[in-house]
Symmetry: C2
Subunit: 252 residues, 2 copies
C-alpha cells in the first residue's frame, strides 16, 4: 500500500485552522442571535444552564487526559487548565465565574450547579467529549482541545455584544469571558505545537483533523439542542429546564 506523505507543518496547521472556519460554532445562528441582542432573557438563561454543564466537565476531561499521560512535564503543562477552571486558594476559577454570570441573569447558582434541567442532548454531547479524551489516542485527545484556537474571537464578540444589548451584562457578569481571552491562547499555543510535533505521519494528521472536527460537532450539537428546545417554536424535551424554574427570588 502506498503511504501518503505527511503534510508539511504550515499546510497541516492551515488545514486545522480551516476546520474552524468551516465548522466552529461561532457560525451557528444561536450565537448570532445571542450576540446581537436577539435572545429573550429565558433563552439566555437556557444557554447559561446548559453551557454550565460543558464548563463543569472540562476539568474532568482534563483529569481524564492527565490520567493517561506518563510524562510528568506534559502533565505539569496540562495541569494549569484544571486550575483555571476549578480555581486555587489565591484565585477564583472559571466555574465560579460562570456561576456569577448565572446569578447576573437571574438564576439561582445552586440550581445551575445542581445540573438539574440540563438538556439530555447537552449531556450526550459533552459526555461524548469527556469519553473521547479518555479513550482515544493522546494525539487525538490534544487535537480535540484545539477549538480554543477559534475561541478568542467568539469571546471578544460575546463581551462586546452582551455589554451592548443586555442589562445584566457588566464586568463582574462577564469576567469568565474576559479571563478566557488571556488563558485560552496560552493553552492552545502549547496544544497546537504538541499536535504539530506529534502528528508525524499522514495517518496521524488525518486522525488529528478528525478529532478537531469531532469537537466542533460537540459544540455545534449543543447549540442545535438549545435552539430546538428554547427558540420559538420551543419544543422543550421531558424533564429539561422550563422558564420560571431555578430563578433567584428577586427575579422570580
Amino acid at each position: 500500500m502506498t503511504q501518503t506523505a505527511p503534510q508539511d507543518r504550515a499546510a497541516f496547521e492551515a488545514r486545522l485552522r480551516a476546520i474552524g472556519d468551516a465548522r466552529y460554532h461561532d457560525k451557528h445562528p444561536f450565537h448570532r442571535r445571542l450576540h446581537s441582542g436577539g435572545c429573550s432573557p429565558d433563552e439566555v438563561r437556557a444557554w447559561v444552564i446548559n453551557r454550565y454543564y460543558y464548563q463543569s466537565r472540562i476539568p474532568m476531561k482534563d483529569a481524564a487526559f492527565m490520567s493517561r499521560v506518563s510524562d510528568p512535564a506534559l502533565r505539569r503543562a496540562w495541569r494549569k487548565r484544571i486550575e483555571d477552571h476549578d480555581g486555587t486558594d489565591a484565585r477564583e476559577g472559571g466555574i465560579a465565574r460562570w456561576l456569577r454570570l448565572a446569578q447576573a441573569v437571574g438564576l439561582d447558582p445552586d440550581y445551575v450547579a445542581s445540573e438539574r434541567g440540563v438538556l439530555p442532548a447537552t449531556r450526550f454531547a459533552v459526555d461524548a467529549y469527556v469519553r473521547f479524551v479518555r479513550d482515544m489516542p493522546l494525539l487525538d485527545a490534544v487535537a480535540s482541545s484545539l477549538t480554543e484556537l477559534f475561541a478568542p474571537k467568539i469571546h471578544a464578540e460575546r463581551i462586546e455584544g452582551l455589554l451592548r444589548h443586555y442589562d445584566f451584562a457588566d464586568d463582574a457578569a462577564l469576567s469568565y469571558f474576559r479571563k478566557r481571552l488571556t488563558e485560552a491562547p496560552e493553552d492552545v499555543a502549547f496544544g497546537l505545537a504538541w499536535v504539530l510535533d506529534h502528528a508525524d505521519t499522514r495517518e496521524k494528521q488525518d486522525a488529528a483533523a478528525a478529532a478537531l472536527e469531532f469537537k466542533t460537532d460537540v459544540l455545534w450539537a449543543q447549540l442545535d439542542a438549545l435552539w430546538s428546545a428554547y427558540v420559538e417554536p420551543a419544543r422543550i424535551p421531558p424533564g429539561a429546564w422550563r422558564p420560571g424554574e431555578g430563578l433567584l427570588e428577586r427575579a422570580a
Copy 2:
C-alpha cells in the same frame, strides 16, 4: 438514615409503565408527522439514515451487556437479541430489514450502512446508550431496555400510518416493524420480570426507573435532532446528510 421500603411489585411495574406514558418518543411531534403522512420524502430519508445508526448499535449494546454477565443462563436468554438484529444462516436480521426500508425510500443501502451523514447528535445519544449499558450496574442496563414495553404500539401505528400515506410502503419495506411486533414482547417480558425480581430495594427501584428515563431521553433526543436538522426551517449541521446525497440511481 431511614430506609424507604421498596414498592410492591405491581406498584413498581406501574411506575415503570408510567414513564412510557409521560416520556416515550411516540409523544414526539416527529412521529405524529411521520405517521400522519406529513413528512416529505427527504424527512423520511433522514429518519431512515439516522435511525439506522441506532439499529446498528443495538447488537453492540447487547454484546457489551453480555460481556459483563457471568451467568450462562442469562447470557443465553439475552443472545436472541443479537440474533434478531444480526440474523442467522436461516433468517434475515433486523439490520438487513432496515436496509430494505432504506432501499424502498430511494436510498442506497451502502450509503446508509456507511453511517456517513448521520447527525452528530444521533451519534452522541446512541453512543451514550451503548456506554450506559457497558458501564452501569446490570440492573440499570436491563431496565434501560424496557422501552420495548412501549414499542409494539408505536410499531403498529407506524405500519398503519406508513402504509396509508406513503407510496414506498409495502410489506417488504415494512418487514422490520412487522417482525418487531412479535420479537419485542418476548424480549421485554423477560427483561421486565428480571428487573421486577432484582430491584429488591427502594434504591434499586429508583435506579431502574432513572435508567428507563435515561433511555427515553436517548430516543427523544434523536427525534429532536432530526426535527432540528430537517424539518423546516431546516438547520442541517456541518457534515450531516443533505437531501440529494446517497440516493439510489433510479431516485436521483
